[in-house]
């Protein structure tokens, strides 16, 4: 669907992304004054998982120890499976540690309607009873449809519904950047 959008502006470049993640990592540590073993970073597949790993790596640099890292695929928890046209491919969820009594920091690339995070919360709770769940996002673009709020935000970007925020990461897209796209025509 990319070719129906045209790039409007660049929001973050590689250097800016790096600094933003650094700040988020520090904020996480500042807010949660506990042993690193008491924290786990869980990324929402797909780009959230890369961001989660990067944040964990930064914390390791700071504290000398990495928190546990996990990946959540929320496909099976979506509430719109019978309405979408394409069959979503289910990827693997990997939570290889016990989440009970841990502080879980969920990580995603873009916070939009909040539905994805709602799915992630449901799925996470099925794994155990965490002490608390906090949310870190690289970009918050507004337009919430559920009462969900991020605890750690990289950048707030007000957007219109005709626009799309695209986070590209080296691990998946070969480049680090966040761009704003706009729909070319009013179709679909």
């Amino acid at each position: 669907m990319e070719n129906q959008f045209k790039e409007k502006s660049k929001i973050l470049n590689k250097e800016e992304i790096k600094r933003t993640l650094m700040r988020i990592a520090h904020e996480i540590l500042e807010k949660n004054n506990v042993d690193i073993n008491g924290i786990a970073i869980v990324g929402i597949y797909c780009r959230g998982s890369f961001l989660a790993q990067r944040i964990a790596d930064i914390i390791k640099d700071i504290k000398g120890q990495s928190p546990e890292v996990g990946v959540l695929d929320i496909t099976l928890y979506r509430d719109d499976l019978t309405q979408i046209a394409e069959q979503p491919v289910v990827h693997s969820t990997k939570i290889s540690f016990d989440i009970t009594n841990k502080i879980i920091v969920l990580v995603d690339d873009v916070l939009f309607t909040g539905r994805t995070v709602r799915c992630a919360l449901d799925e996470l709770i099925d794994f155990g009873r965490p002490k608390s769940i906090q949310l870190a996002v690289l970009v918050d673009r507004g337009h919430r449809e559920l009462p969900i709020k991020a605890d750690f935000v990289g950048k707030n970007i007000p957007t219109s519904t005709k626009e799309v925020v695209n986070v590209r990461l080296e691990e998946a897209d070969g480049i680090d950047e966040v761009v704003l796209l706009e729909k070319e025509n009013n179709g679909e």
Binding site: L76, Y77, Q87, V89, T93, I95
Partner: protein, 317 residues
């Protein structure tokens, strides 16, 4: 990460009509579903509100269990009908049974029946999807899928592997479905059993045929052992159980001629001491219990693919 819509079917009736890509899709998805079985809460809300009817005309505890578990793990509601053996016995045709069930607004029907083609018949009468849980000697697609997944899990590939299927191939839906799946994925398949139980022209499916067990197992990467029904002896397919064991029973002794890392498989239930002996069934090469676990995961993947996504009807609106 574009989603290619590979799965478009409302039914899973057999392996023969599936493409290689469709089989790969199911296998890949199965890994994700298997993970759910390791969680403390082995349930996801994906098929919440969907109703799945299990209609079993042939007695079967384990397949029915496996499907029910798969459905429940996906939060679907299940209803079980253990029907009499066939239309003529109880007087209501398969078509009528199906129409009645559809009138109760179920979303998916899982059918096991003793007649080949019964799932195909059913899928023509129903708008709901149909999963073939075994139609006579014809096909048992989810069994083949879990068998292939189990091999794949251990050997990391199917292409180029040598798989041997031993036993009553003529009457085995497990054999047929496995042959279709393994051939599509590029394995070399060998069939072995008494000549009376090997069906006519089966070589045309691209399999090797041998009546000699040692031949069949010596280079095999996996051996799938079929259950032999004792009644076949009365039907003069072989003279005695004793002779069957002598020629085709998998004992520890006979296994010495196989590869060290050969996988031992069996769809269950095992006739211990006939087609498969204790030591082997419980031995290090056996993945029989993994097959059972994988069975639930594979069926979850299948139910997921059939029940979610737009239905054909909605698409046409």
């Amino acid at each position: 990460m574009a989603n290619k819509t590979i799965w478009k079917r409302k039914d899973l009736l057999g392996i023969e009509e599936l493409t290689k890509e469709e089989i790969h899709l199911i296998l890949n998805q199965t890994f994700s579903f298997k993970e759910i079985l390791e969680r403390p809460i082995k349930k996801v809300p994906t098929l919440r509100g969907k109703t799945i009817a299990l209609i079993f005309f042939e007695a079967s505890t384990r397949t029915r269990f496996s499907f029910e578990l798969a459905a429940k793990r996906l939060s679907a509601d299940t209803v079980s009908f253990a029907a009499a053996s066939s239309s003529t016995v109880k007087g209501e045709t398969l078509k009528d049974t199906a129409k009645n069930i559809e009138a109760m607004k179920v979303d998916l029907v899982i059918l096991r029946h003793s007649m080949p083609g019964s799932s195909y018949m059913l899928s023509r009468y129903l708008e709901a999807g149909v999963v073939n849980a075994g139609d006579g000697s014809h096909e048992h697609p989810t069994q083949a899928l879990l068998d292939v997944f189990s091999i794949y899990e251990k050997k990391k590939k199917i292409e180029g592997l040598k798989i041997s299927i031993i036993g009553d191939v003529a009457h085995s839906r497990v054999a047929r479905s496995n042959i279709f799946a393994l051939k599509k994925l590029g394995a070399e398949v060998t069939i072995c059993g008494p000549k009376t139980l090997i069906p006519v022209d089966i070589e045309k499916l691209g399999v090797n045929v041998t009546y000699n067990l040692d031949e069949a197992i010596k280079d095999a990467d996996a051996i799938n052992i079929l259950r032999i029904q004792k009644e076949r002896q009365k039907e003069t397919y072989f003279p005695s159980i004793r002779e069957y064991i002598k020629l085709y029973g998998i004992t520890e002794e006979r296994l010495k001629k196989a590869k060290k890392d050969v996988l031992i498989m069996h769809p269950g239930p095992i006739n211990r001491g006939i087609e498969l002996f204790q030591e082997v069934a419980d031995g290090a090469n056996s993945i029989i219990l993994e097959q059972v676990t994988n069975g639930v995961a594979v069926r979850m993947a299948v139910l997921y693919l059939l029940c979610s996504g737009e239905t054909i009807e909605e698409k046409e609106k």
